[in-house]
Symmetry: C2
Subunit: 333 residues, 2 copies
């Protein structure tokens, strides 16, 4: 067992008290120049790495934040995690990550495990919370940030944007550009609450314009992932409704699937039909697809969440932090 060097070892070598070593690390300005250099030299010499678990115990500040995500394997949350992680590390904090794989039953267990590490704050990507979860969170006094949506009643702080409004805006955009037979593909999965909200925005926009909404799939098709879902659903959609002149997709991935299927069927986009996506990540960037989409600032959500965690008082003044989105019009509409 390679024994860890302790603060006392450093203190002895530098001929100071342990507390002085602690101060050199946390509040160097309160230590005289001479001793500080002695201590720093001793730290270097011994290769001392402080033990934050011990520090957490005595100061009741762990300098760790916890995150519970549905999945890491989705550029959607991945960008946010990158933003979170980078911002937090710059401030001297670490990120404890747990993924639930979209299984809501795991959430409470995961939260319990997270709380056992006494984090200074928590980030949640999940949308609805069991009463066990709510109870646990109520009992603690640390900041809780919900991301990627704007609940009307946030648990504590929310950072995101309105999925409903995004769906509404895109539908309006299609309507304004002359489309009259607009289908919506994806968003039929009950667990994807955010996708559902976008679909509702779409529905309301069509209704208020006097148009009939057409949606695929209505049943839960969790087995299919983005691109495949898009291709398969578009095919079905065409069978039922051959005169569709616009397809609004729940995600960029789905939109890519639609575009592929369209090109295979010689449907000319955008002349015969418009297609829109959602996300604004790589797949929709100025590439072969040139997809009109809603660009969501995933990384920014991470950064804003980190700021909220680091300064919860300021964030709580707002409660709900809207980072917005951007409708990016490109070649498919």
């Amino acid at each position: 067992m390679g024994k860890w060097v302790t603060m006392k070892d450093v203190a002895d070598l530098a001929n100071v008290g342990t507390i002085t070593v602690s101060r050199v690390l946390r509040t160097p300005e309160k230590v005289s120049e001479a001793k500080r250099q002695r201590v720093e030299k001793a730290i270097e010499e011994l290769g001392y790495v402080p033990d934050n678990t011990a520090g957490a115990l005595s100061s009741s500040k762990s300098r760790v934040f916890g995150a519970i995500v549905s999945t890491v394997n989705d550029s959607v949350f991945a960008q946010t995690l990158d933003g979170l992680s980078s911002t937090l590390r710059a401030a001297g904090y670490e990120l404890l990550l747990t993924s639930t794989n979209y299984n809501p039953e795991v959430e409470e267990e995961a939260l319990r495990a997270l709380l056992a590490r006494r984090p200074d704050g928590i980030v949640l990507t999940s949308t609805s919370h069991s009463i066990g979860v709510t109870k646990l969170l109520d009992a603690v006094s640390i900041p809780v940030v919900e991301v990627w949506q704007l609940p009307s009643e946030p648990l504590d702080i929310a950072v995101g944007f309105s999925n409903y409004q995004a769906g509404y805006d895109m539908a309006r955009h299609l309507i304004n550009s002359g489309c009259e037979n607009i289908a919506f593909i994806g968003g039929g999965c009950a667990r994807d609450v955010r996708g559902l909200r976008r679909r509702e925005g779409y529905k309301d926009a069509l209704k208020s314009a006097g148009l009939a909404p057409v949606m695929w799939p209505n049943e839960d098709q969790a087995a299919l992932t983005g691109i495949e879902l898009g291709a398969a659903s578009f095919e079905k959609c065409l069978n039922v409704n051959p005169h569709v002149d616009a397809v609004m997709c729940v995600s960029d991935q789905v939109a890519v699937g639609v575009l592929c299927e369209a090109s295979r069927r010689d449907v000319d986009v955008p002349n015969d039909m418009s297609v829109s996506g959602f996300g604004g990540f790589e797949v929709s960037a100025p590439s072969g697809f040139d997809l009109t989409t809603i660009a969501v600032p995933g990384y920014e959500i991470g950064v804003a969440s980190a700021r909220a965690l680091l300064d919860p008082e300021a964030a709580r003044a707002q409660k709900v932090i809207d980072v917005g989105y951007k409708l990016v019009e490109r070649g498919t509409t």
Copy 2:
């Protein structure tokens, strides 16, 4: 401040010693049925959540593993993280995540921050390590797992597959199917060591078949991401070498870019030209692209790494754990 319930509170309510509470949580079989139920009831009643930081201090087992990844925002590592996280959580461990954003200078700092949490083990996705990093890792006695490659001299344990062999195999596959003018796109970025290895495999396969390798880009094009890089590079490639009959891509994303550009130029895949990718994630799945690719078991790498961390002795017996890959032939070759 919502005060945390401590083990002593539980012990007092259940009328036992604190140590008995500890045993109920860690080794319940050593506690009599009656007391165990009393303690469990008290835990439930008080909503007690144990403090693992305190436990880590006294047992010098943190039940946390650290991971340093280049980026979360890449399905490549994301699947591995999912596998890691799931397997570790099932065993009662947590994952401390740090991303370096492909900046090798951050690695040492990140590692230092990670070690300050006294993890029970570490996972690295980075390929080469500075001497500072090596020194830090030498000083500790915890398992260190390097993933997604098979270094000849692993620091401790390695879990992955041979990128060189994967490149070689795919090139052989193209040669065997009759291609004679095979270009390689991507993998020119010096920081992407794994891509470079695949490209070397390609080069050697061509050489040993008496064919001339053709590669784009040779300069560092970090600014372009996958799809765009594929589209742009393919264009240049065609200008220089219009008779190319196969394009081997460093990743599926790049391959998608190539396919898009090909379809725009009315190049018929696979009749005029074959295209292959690497990765085997969503984008290459049975979708519109039907891409021939090398499928890498990203999730499996995570699971195997977790096992190695949990039982380092068994893993060290192997040192290098090869999870392999699969050449998936589909419609583009």
